[in-house]
Amino acid sequence: MTLPEGQEPDATSDPGATPEAAAPAPEVAAETPAKPAAERPVRPAKEAEPKEAPRVAPPAGSINETLAAAAPGVVFNAYMVPEMKGECVTVEVSRDDLTAVMTAARDDERLDLKYLRCLSGVDWQDEGLEVVYHLWSFTKKHSLQVKTRVTYDDANVPSIATIYPAADWHERETRDMFGINFEGHWNLVPLLLPEDMTDHFPLRKDNPLQEIEEWQGENLRDGAGEGDE
């Protein structure tokens, strides 16, 4: 509605079409990238899709071996997901070992993972709640992904905000959104939600989206908005 003169939103190419057909055909107005195209989808059929991400063991000499040396006595399960393009080794630890792993990751010279990149909560429904930590080392240029999983009923994870100050707000946010209690956090009041709301976890899968109300404006007068203009 508001395009300047001489500018049409017409696509000269369409993501679904083959390039030779698309290049000189400006009449195709591409509203969606998924237009019906001559080509068949290369993706296999739905039932053939795997349910689980394929996991492979990390190659020898990966960071998980360093971690095992740096944090002795910690049992963890290391794997890689091929989609991560080999850049990130994932380590699954139990929550009891989390503090030890994080301390080792930060303080050990061989790991030197000083930078907490991201902290996410994931709601795996039947399989409980998961916290994912992305760590990065500026000096060694390697990364590590640490996961820990808890159940709904016992959603307690030790806080790492004293180890990584960056985790402070991330943990508060994750507590807001998923109800994961980070034990030992100094100030675990709701961050994104109102401060007295501690019993509502919007990003859990069992929290539905709200319905769209038909009539906007509770005290709108009859016939308003239908007048002149």
Binding site: I212, Q216, G217
Partner: protein
Amino acid sequence: MTAQKAAPPTLPEKQVEGAPVVAPQREQTGIEREAERLTPVPYEPGTALYRQILPGILQVPADAMLALSRKSSLWPMTFGLACCAIEMIATFMSRHDLDRFGIVPWPSPRQSDVMIVSGTGTKKMAPAVKLLYEQMPNPKWVIAMGACATNGGPYTRYDRVVQGVDKIIPVDVYVPGCPPRPEALIDGMLALQHKIMEERNK
């Protein structure tokens, strides 16, 4: 790119102030506590002093003059909520320059005439929006800028979002768009000026 106009909402019929407060049996959940904070602000137009003291014959020119000056000097509050705030700032800046119409932003609600709700109203923000609206002196107007302020827009299905700012405060002009272009906001301002002139004798 037209701005729809809505009449000022009428007063809600039932008054909640007089009702006896029943002590809750159990502890309220956060959602329930929040719902109490989300009661709408009623529309209460003030009565000007000159209407009571001026003789009737003089009220017509007085109305006209006052409406002319009010519409010529609409001062919005600088109140950027979300993405629409960028377009609102763009409207005040060089290329579009709302100052041409005498519209200059002021930092405090006490000196403002118009509240441009430029963005999504969330339930955490709603009490603040209501407070700011109540802090503005009469006569005051509200422009709901953008889809989010009008009905929640793309975020309407998330349960932390108020589905339209008119759920909590009375809105005079709705400016559609996500976000509205600066031209649309100027059009909304002109629609508000039109409305002020039309309702000058109310």
